[in-house]
């Protein structure tokens, strides 16, 4: 279960993720990422990890969040 997630408290809308992962991330009209929400396949993992490391705000992450409040 590998999915992209965003720590919205960190994201400043630099937009690198949308350039590096155009199939999974597009930017909204304010420049913040909109995730496609699909699962990242094993073959795509290395590239997705590189994108995560490239995020200047350390806001892009890989993995399944626990759901609940």
């Amino acid at each position: 279960m590998n999915k992209l997630e965003i720590d919205w408290t960190r994201c400043d809308g630099h937009g690198l993720c949308a350039t590096l992962l155009p199939d999974d991330v597009v930017l909204d009209e304010w420049g913040f990422p909109v995730l496609r929400g699909r699962e990242i396949t094993v073959g795509e993992l290395p590239h997705a990890r590189r994108a995560v490391l490239a995020c200047p705000a350390l806001a892009l992450r890989l993995n399944a969040p626990a759901k609940r409040d």
Partner: protein, 406 residues
């Protein structure tokens, strides 16, 4: 039916009073509490889990998460704290501060009983209302639980009431939700397992421990028996807090409070406008934290919604881009819509799709839910406004907005 008057909030009961029992003469001290409810029985963790499951008890803070599941999610050992979330940041809600102010021992019974059952050494009560905080501090002096009970004042901002924002504030940090979605049951107070729930949930637990599942189920729905606290406000003759059996028809509550005919908002400013009020019963999750707002029929609905949208935007913690920019854009969209600009209507629909699920907490989601339901339910008003003449009514400010936004 009883009618009580205290702390400038009217209390009323439909059916049998449980949480509001004995409050007819104001704050209930230790002695009067024991006389009304009897002593809190000592139950095990298994007993609490079993009871909560048997009566389908759900959290009363809005999310309506099943208490039994929350208990089951805690590890077997090392539970650090039980946290009573009394920050009640929804501006219309009064039920929690009312319980804290008038029935503090019932809440403390629920919290300390559960803390002992879980082996948790700390009980923390997060409150932002000064009168409520004083009442709880006095109550702690009146009793001896052998536990460390602490009362903390938290800020009143809307998102400061979110569970993880409360935990952050209790640890001396900022009262904002953290970016990572971590469950308090795993990493709560000081990164240790914590049971956190709403004030009313603990009062219900205290009642449940005494009555047992059978006695607790003598009123209310089969699926979720017992009573619930509702706050009703807006265009009503008798605003205040009402205790009712779960599943009471909304119409009955509206009539009871003397509500004017007109649209009704259920669940507060993160809730929804109801397309109609008949044939609807009040239960979780729809009733959320129990807030009912009657709009009446002589104010401009879209103008009222615009005022609330301004307040919702002002309550963003300012951490998350889509919430900050999205809510600000929606305020502008609704402003243009009220003035009759069709582009405002189009932009509102687009922006409502860009806000939910894109923040550290549920503030953008709840705000979008409120605004989207307004566009649905007030379709006829939208049409009138876009036709250029408005709906012919002024904005009277029926929906309370703290600080009275412009």
């Amino acid at each position: 039916m009883t009618m009580l008057h205290a702390a400038r909030v009217d209390l009323r009961v439909i059916g049998e009073p449980r949480l509001l029992a004995g409050l007819d003469q104001g704050r209930v001290d230790r002695q009067r509490h024991l006389w009304t409810h009897g002593a809190q029985p000592d139950l095990t963790r298994e007993a609490y889990t079993h009871l909560a499951e048997a009566v389908g008890l759900r959290g009363r803070g809005g999310a309506a998460f099943p208490v039994a599941l929350k208990l089951a999610d805690l590890p077997a050992k090392g539970i650090e704290a039980v946290v009573v979330n009394g920050s009640e940041s929804e501006p219309v809600s009064r039920k929690d501060r009312l319980l804290l102010t008038l029935a503090p021992h019932l809440i403390l019974d629920g919290a300390t009983g559960l803390a002992r059952a879980l082996g948790a050494p700390h009980v923390l009560v997060a409150v932002h209302d000064p009168a409520a905080a004083t009442s709880v501090r006095e109550a702690i002096m009146e009793r001896d639980d052998g536990l460390a009970i602490e009362v903390s004042d938290t800020p009143g901002r809307f998102v400061a009431g979110e569970a993880r924002a409360v935990l952050s504030a209790l640890e001396g940090g900022p009262a904002v939700p953290p970016g990572r979605r971590i469950l308090p049951t795993r990493k709560g107070y000081h990164q240790s397992p914590t049971f956190l729930s709403n004030v009313e949930t603990f009062a219900q637990l205290a009642v449940l421990a005494r009555l047992g599942s059978r006695g607790f189920s003598s009123t209310g729905l089969i699926s979720e028996p017992g009573t619930q606290l509702l706050t009703i406000d807006g265009a009503v003759q008798r605003p205040g807090v009402i205790e009712t059996p779960t599943g009471v028809p909304l119409e009955a509550v509206l009539k009871f409070a003397g509500a004017e005919p007109g649209p009704v908002l259920l669940g507060g400013y993160h809730g929804r406008w109801l397309p109609r009020t008949n044939a609807l019963t009040l239960q979780r999750p729809d009733v959320s934290a129990g807030i009912i707002l009657a709009l009446g029929s002589d104010t401009c609905p879209l103008g009222e919604v615009h005022r609330v949208a301004q307040w919702l935007a002002s309550q963003s913690a300012g951490q998350c881009g889509p919430c900050v920019f999205g809510l600000a854009s929606l305020v502008d969209d609704f402003d243009r819509l009220v003035k009759g600009d069709p582009a405002g209507w189009h932009d509102a629909h687009r922006h409502l799709g860009l806000v939910p699920g894109r923040g550290a907490c549920a503030h953008p989601d709840g705000s979008a839910r409120f605004l989207a339901s307004a566009l649905e339910v007030f379709g006829e008003d939208v049409r009138l406004h876009l036709a250029g003449g408005g709906c012919g009514r002024h904005v009277k400010g029926v929906l309370p907005v703290p600080g009275g936004a412009a």
